[in-house]
């Protein structure tokens, strides 16, 4: 059963909060991980692994590089 965008966003917000301390409420789809949320590449690896556990979708390294915004991750998980 596919998750809605809202459900995925909530899950990503929880993961980002756990890893970086950024409030989940600040994690909105248009936010850039690097420019807006100030998340470094090591933390992105942690987020990708946690997202894999949460959503059962593997994010390969070569794809991770292309995921610039929260919306990019949502789309990747949905598709």
């Amino acid at each position: 059963m596919a998750l809605t965008e809202q459900e995925i966003l909530a899950g990503i917000g929880k993961i980002i909060n756990e890893i970086t301390g950024i409030p989940a409420s600040e994690v909105s789809p248009e936010k850039s991980f690097v420019d807006d949320l100030d998340i470094d590449s090591l933390s992105m690896v942690e987020i990708a692994v946690a997202a894999q556990d949460e959503f059962g979708v593997e994010i390969p390294d070569e794809q991770l590089k292309n995921l610039k915004t929260v919306k990019d991750v949502i789309n990747f998980i949905q598709n």
Binding site: E18, I19, T20, G21, L42, S43, V45, E46, V49
Partner: protein, 410 residues
């Protein structure tokens, strides 16, 4: 002699120890003669012959934000907690980043990270390793994190000399300022090594006390029935500053970091040289480097760890170099032995002893070993004299490292 050298002063203190989560609580517990030793309750305790340790009074994960704590080894957590306290205490509003340095080491590094990460690796594969595993396990991690936080660009260093690490770091910090490389240096030691592998390994050396029926009486330097050291954890950090820099900003000065003496036993990888020649040399060099004489030294925070082999020889060396007049204490009787953190917290205690003119006691001595050749402060703290006085913090480490750091009152 150092008369033409830059004078270095201490303007900030930070510590998190088995006695308290900061300097004030650690120091008052120390003067009250409290013990930081606790029974271990972890499920692995049945697998090791030592069932107690001097665990940190305040768990650093209770103080640090969770996202920060999860990417730090416990030794890094202790170091950051203590460095933040020391930095806030020094209240330096402005320093040229290129003139600010860090020297913080640990004896063992991020060993709990190494072992936990290896379990993760074996059970779940490399993909599940934290991307922070390497910065957590590297022994220069604590120095690196502090340097990043403070923006220190004069140089960030991590000296490693087992149980002499903290004192060696402070000595190196003094030298950074004296040689003109920095105006301010944050220096000290940290350790987080309470793990069954370490306890088992030290026990395999027969180095640890196994007084399981009375853990708080186990660390008893110079007592006739001492049977080994008690493992402790935590960090002690000082802010060192050139006197000129400190005076220009009207800083409160706690002591002068007068000088340091280093030597090496070149005798045995883990046993002290029974002649004490290395200790004698280190203390002699500390006096020369500080422009002090033995008569100036009124207090010594000794290395003595409660092991049968090491304690008495240190007192013989003190007697030979300094005399039998200083009030000698081992605060390890209350804090346990913090390994690489020992020189850090014990320098903090030495500075406070000068500043407040009081020498903490050595607890747990029931019968003084007859070989002890100096005056040991027992049972209750003793007052130190007025006027210009000096003190030494001794720290020695496996590998044969001997370090003596000298401080004078202001």
């Amino acid at each position: 002699m150092n008369t033409d050298q830059v004078r270095v002063v201490v303007t900030g203190l930070g510590a998190t120890t088995p006695l308290g989560g900061d300097v004030a609580s650690s120091w008052s517990a120390l003067l009250a003669g409290q013990s930081g030793v606790r029974n271990l309750t972890e499920d692995w305790v049945d697998s090791v012959p030592v069932k107690f340790a001097a665990t940190a009074a305040v768990d650093p994960t209770e103080v640090l934000p969770r996202p920060e704590a999860r990417r730090l080894d416990r030794a890094e957590q202790f170091a950051l907690v203590a460095a933040r306290e020391a930095w806030a205490h020094a209240a330096i509003e402005k320093v040229d980043p290129e003139r600010l340095g860090v020297v913080v080491g640990s004896g063992i590094g991020g060993i709990t990270t190494v072992l936990a990460a290896y379990d993760t690796f074996k059970e779940r594969g490399w993909q599940r390793l934290s991307p922070f595993t390497v910065p957590m396990l590297m022994p220069n991690g604590p120095a690196g994190w502090i340097g990043i936080e403070l923006g220190a660009r004069a140089g960030v260093h991590a000296t490693v000399s087992a149980c002499a690490t903290g004192a060696e770091s402070i000595g190196y910090g003094i030298e950074m300022i004296r040689s003109g490389r920095a105006d301010v240096v944050v220096a000290g030691g940290t350790e987080a090594a309470i793990h069954p592998l370490n306890i088992g390994s030290f026990a395999a050396m027969r180095a640890m006390s196994t007084r399981n029926d009375a853990p708080q009486l186990a660390s008893r330097p110079w007592d006739k029935s001492r049977d080994g050291f008690v493992l402790g954890e935590g960090a002690g950090i000082v802010v060192l500053e050139s006197e000129e820099h400190a005076r220009a900003r009207g800083a409160k000065v706690y002591a002068v970091a007068a000088g340091v003496g280093y030597s090496a036993d070149a005798h045995h990888i883990a046993q002290p040289d029974p002649t004490g020649a290395g200790i004698v040399l280190a203390m002699r060099r500390a006096l020369e480097n500080s422009g002090l004489t033995g008569a100036d030294i009124k207090h010594i925070n000794a290395h003595s760890t409660s092991t049968p082999a090491g304690d008495v020889v240190e007192t013989l060396a003190i007697n030979e170099v300094i005399g039998d007049h200083p009030l000698v204490t081992s605060t390890k009787s209350m804090t346990g032995h913090l390994l690489g953190g020992a020189g850090g917290i014990e320098s903090v205690f030495t500075i406070l002893a000068l500043h407040e003119r009081i020498a903490p006691a050595t607890t747990n001595i029931e019968e003084l070993d007859e070989g002890v050749a100096v005056e040991i402060v027992r049972d209750k703290p003793r007052a130190l004299p007025d006027g210009q006085i000096a003190a030494i913090n001794n720290s020695f480490g496996f590998g044969g490292h001997d370090v003596a750091v000298a401080f004078t009152s202001v």
